[in-house]
Symmetry: C2
Subunit: 357 residues, 2 copies
């Protein structure tokens, strides 16, 4: 399914085997400039493919954009034997996957992720989604791409902040899957993410996520472990979407990880040591993570979380590195405390970093 | 799956067994006035259920309405163990089915069809859909309702024109499934649709459609026979959506049936006699079917049809009553001719009716 260095050649083979009646590319205003031309140059099959362009940014992952994509698919005469090629970060793979999965009740699609975040997370796992009223992925489908083609070269196009944002998901995957790898990360810290290590880290994330998803595509239990850090993380991200202190998805997940590992120390026996290690690593990667977070702004988003039952907010926590816990429903007081913990930790860290500067 | 006279009692049993965390009703501006109060009175389980109301009419079967429904489901704190109860005609069952199938990537839904059209067709078969740029059901999902509850009493609320509109689908189901029943219809004509016959006709339509769908939910071949009359019918309906000569769905399908039975006489060996019989029956049911149809307005909609391959327009035709044909791709000239045939037939019929008056 996953194609790395020889990705363009394999994409060419894939397209020549499948004989789609039409192939349409979806890109955003960023990826259309560099990634799409490179892709088309390397994969001549795509030479005459129309390109649908949506404005970049999570704010545009909406049903309005879905309507635009579908109208353009109609204009391109894309039929049920057509293919949509999603070229972009997680916003494009989520949005394009959704549009393809409902267009004429479903056509094939593939992902060509161009961001590290999409490579290690968004493009993998068969979930599509759009946001409504700033609630992330509140509408979506389960739909598996025919294939995912990962070309590491695209990573060179990413601004550093966006690139590093994805480390939070890599950290999460390591925490969930592998205590030895966690120890290496703790002892090695930032070197762990050096460019020469990245292909291996991407590969680890993809394989781990695929293994979880393969036993529970429809999110009936097994794959909930992947939500570690995401209940608080999504709420933080959503509450700041309109603010100047807007966070990247991974940055919000990094904050969420701090809060949910704190909850894990209270509820599922996680050792304080692991929480401290995680804070140290996250602070090293994201030294200037500060934001105007108001606790009360988070709760509406927490209550809209898809994992909830009607009265409580569900969290996927951790027992120890490599050992995820079942879904927990902490008390409102404890959730409150965990948000306080994030805020205080980050203020301390920022002061610490600023003192050093 | 289907509940008739004792439908309210069975719906009560269904709800008491399932123990949904929340139950939300979806209605349109018509059904909220009479059908919803009757339903709530008869099914006390629904007493405290919030009601989401969308404006009635096919024009509102849009992603914009989906967005509204999902925002209101969020406001109602509907979680993944919630249920959406769609109370209305085909517009509500298509729209509500779609919204439920994507809300939080899918919650349960049931249909309580209030129109004859929804009872014999729209609510059955697991297809949901919304229109974009006036192209019918261009976005949708395959999603099966947990159950469909048919209460015949709702039919008394329907205006005659809307009610009769559904006869076209009943005729189609008979044409596809049963030559003896076709002969009865031909000899009996309008008496066939007398009120005392309707429960049996509804039952026949539901069972026939379910039997077709059960072998091909995802529309990969087998269920295409159900499109008889719908390629031209949908194009006619779509092209007139903004016109004062707007047709009801079934009226458009009746026109489509005339055109596609004409194509069947040319391509799949249908006897001219059956075409004449169908014209006679359709003219008797819809004596004043006249519309300002322009042939050239139809083609953009025909080319957008989901059944097409990239170059040709696909039609599900008939060999003889009870014997559907495989998908056919007539020449553009023959399609043109079939549209002419519809127009001329209806003009003749209208003149005939007007002469008699």
């Amino acid at each position: 399914m996953i194609i790395e260095d020889s990705s363009f050649k394999r994409l060419t083979n894939f397209l020549s085997e499948r004989k789609y009646s039409s192939i349409v590319i979806l890109a955003d205003s960023n990826t259309v400039g560099y990634c799409v031309p490179l892709l088309v140059e390397q994969v001549p099959f795509l030479n005459s493919s129309p390109v649908i362009i949506v404005s970049s940014g999570e704010k545009n992952k909406t049903l309005h954009s879905v309507e635009k994509i579908i109208s353009e698919l109609v204009s391109c005469n894309a039929d049920r034997n057509g293919l949509l090629v999603n070229v972009g970060g997680g916003m494009i793979t989520d949005l394009g996957g959704f549009a393809a999965s409902v267009y004429k009740r479903g056509i094939d699609f593939i992902h060509v992720p161009t961001s590290l975040m999409a490579m290690v997370d968004a493009a993998i796992g068969g979930k599509t989604g759009v946001n409504i009223s700033d609630i992330k992925n509140i509408a979506g489908t389960f739909a598996i791409p025919e294939s995912v083609f990962i070309y590491h070269g695209f990573l060179q196009t990413l601004p550093e902040r966006e690139y590093k944002s994805a480390y939070a998901e890599i950290i999460k995957h390591i925490l969930l899957s592998d205590s030895k790898m966690w120890d290496q990360l703790v002892s090695n810290q930032l070197n762990f993410f050096a460019a020469y290590n990245l292909p291996g880290l991407i590969d680890h994330s993809v394989k781990f996520k695929q293994s979880v998803v393969s036993i529970d595509l429809h999110d009936r239990g097994g794959r909930q472990i992947l939500n570690l850090g995401h209940t608080l993380g999504h709420a933080i991200e959503s509450s700041l979407l309109d603010s100047p202190a807007k966070l990247f998805h991974g940055e919000a997940i990094a904050c969420g990880l701090i809060g949910e590992l704190y909850l894990s120390t209270k509820l599922t026996g996680l050792k304080d040591r692991v929480l401290s290690e995680a804070i140290q690593i996250i602070s090293a990667i994201y030294p200037n993570l500060s934001f105007a977070l108001k606790k009360q702004d988070l709760f509406p988003f927490l209550y809209a979380d898809k994992k909830n039952n009607s009265t409580s907010i569900g969290f996927s926590l951790l027992k120890s590195p490599g050992e995820p816990a079942k879904l927990c429903f902490p008390s409102a007081e404890l959730i409150d405390e965990s948000i306080e913990f994030i805020i205080n930790t980050l203020i301390d860290t920022n002061q610490f970093v600023n003192d050093k500067n």
